[in-house]
């Protein structure tokens, strides 16, 4: 059973518009139609000049984040029906500069991710000599969930601190800092704690939980940030033992 919905699309080109406007389109939505489907239909049949970013259409690439009816969501992971409204308003993600229309600029967001050193730091791991780290399932589970992050920026758009604090790394970056800190292969614990123990670091999180509310991958960045802060406060210090390299004997 299809229903007709009105899609309102935010239109703004900083290069020559002084004001933003909404363009409205009537679209036929089936129960399985996603907001991305609707936008691509509009782009194909009604107005091909709308700028938006997408790639995988299956909540894996993290490109299609936008503000849909006031909440940051992935357009490809949000069905028109589940919004329970005949009007669907699409805006670019807040807290990101606007490139054009629904396309947001992720430069600062990715720079903050990089400033967390999102890689294993361990000089032993550099020696590729056939040896490998062995991790128990419990050790993997300490960081696995955080490594599911697809860098879609929904959490960054929802965070009240990011809304005003340009120097705050944001939920995505801080959760990744915890992901590497608690990985038993990583040795840079002190360096990592120094980076986030800053006037604009982990302390500017007040556990408003909005990041975890909108995360489409179950990363629960708020959990990562509280565990990071707890570690900094000296809690759970025994939860990390740096792993040794083992040579796997051929059977």
């Amino acid at each position: 059973m299809a229903k007709r919905v009105k899609i309102r699309v935010f239109r703004y080109n900083p290069a020559h518009d002084t004001d933003a406007r909404y363009d409205e389109f009537e679209v036929e939505a089936e129960r399985w139609t996603t907001v991305l489907d609707a936008l691509l239909y509009i782009k194909a049949h009604k107005d091909h000049s709308i700028a938006l970013r997408y790639s995988c259409r299956m909540a894996s690439c993290g490109s299609c984040g936008m503000l849909i009816n006031g909440i940051p969501r992935l357009a490809c992971y949000t069905k028109v029906y589940e919004l329970g409204s005949d009007v669907v308003t699409c805006r670019p993600l807040p807290n990101f500069p606007i490139i054009r229309d629904l396309a947001a600029d992720f430069t600062a967001f990715f720079a903050k991710h990089k400033s967390m050193k999102p890689y294993i730091i361990n000089e032993v791991a550099e020696s590729i000599d056939g040896r490998e780290f062995i991790q128990k399932p419990e050790e993997v589970e300490k960081y696995l969930q955080f490594s599911y992050c697809i860098k879609c920026g929904l959490c960054y758009a929802a965070c009240p601190t990011v809304a005003t604090d340009r120097r705050f790394p944001g939920p995505q970056a801080l959760a990744q800092m915890y992901r590497y800190l608690i990985d038993s292969r990583d040795k840079a614990t002190d360096e990592r704690l120094r980076i986030v123990d800053d006037r604009h670091g982990v302390w500017r999180c007040h556990f408003a939980g909005s990041c975890s509310m909108v995360c489409p991958k179950g990363v629960d960045p708020a959990l990562g940030i509280q565990l990071l802060r707890a570690y900094l406060l000296g809690m759970n210090r025994d939860s990390k033992v740096v792993a040794e390299l083992y040579r796997r004997e051929p059977k």
């Binding site: 696995l144 809304a163 005003t164 909108v214 629960d220 509280q226």
Partner: protein, 142 residues
């Protein structure tokens, strides 16, 4: 416009993103309210050093219906801020927020589980009870 930061509007709206965001909003509001009261209160009590007359003049201004309503609000703010502050103290030390695992659809975040939500509403309820008791004491005498 181009920056598109949500700005202070993002702080001021407690209706999106559930109970934790509401608690964040109320913790800030009550923190600032208590700070304002605290400063006014230190100024108010300083009248004592100017003798009985000055003290009673101050009481004539503050021990009024309006003054009692302000005190009720202060009591409510105090109780919510303290109770929620203890919750934040515990959560920010990594307790009571679950542990990471293998997320399964529909990906309910453990950190926003029932425990935290219950603590928030209990804090609100305690504040309401304290305000009622305060009203009973303040208005009950006259």
């Amino acid at each position: 416009m181009k920056e598109n930061r949500e700005g202070i509007k993002g702080w001021l709206n407690p209706t999106r993103y559930g109970a934790n965001r509401f608690a964040y909003w109320l913790q800030r509001l009550t923190g600032l309210g208590l700070l304002a009261y605290f400063i006014a209160h230190v100024i108010e009590t300083s009248n004592i050093v100017y003798g009985k007359n000055a003290w009673e003049k101050m009481l004539a201004v503050t021990q009024t219906t309006e003054g009692h309503i302000v005190l009720m609000v202060v009591i409510g703010m105090c109780v919510f801020h303290a109770a929620n502050g203890v919750r934040l103290y515990i959560a920010e030390h990594g307790k009571g927020i679950g542990r990471p695992g293998r997320p399964e659809y529909p990906y309910k975040p453990t950190s926003l589980g029932l425990g935290m939500k219950a603590c928030i509403w209990v804090s609100v309820a305690l504040a309401a009870l304290a305000m009622m008791y305060g009203a009973y004491v303040l208005f009950g005498e006259v």
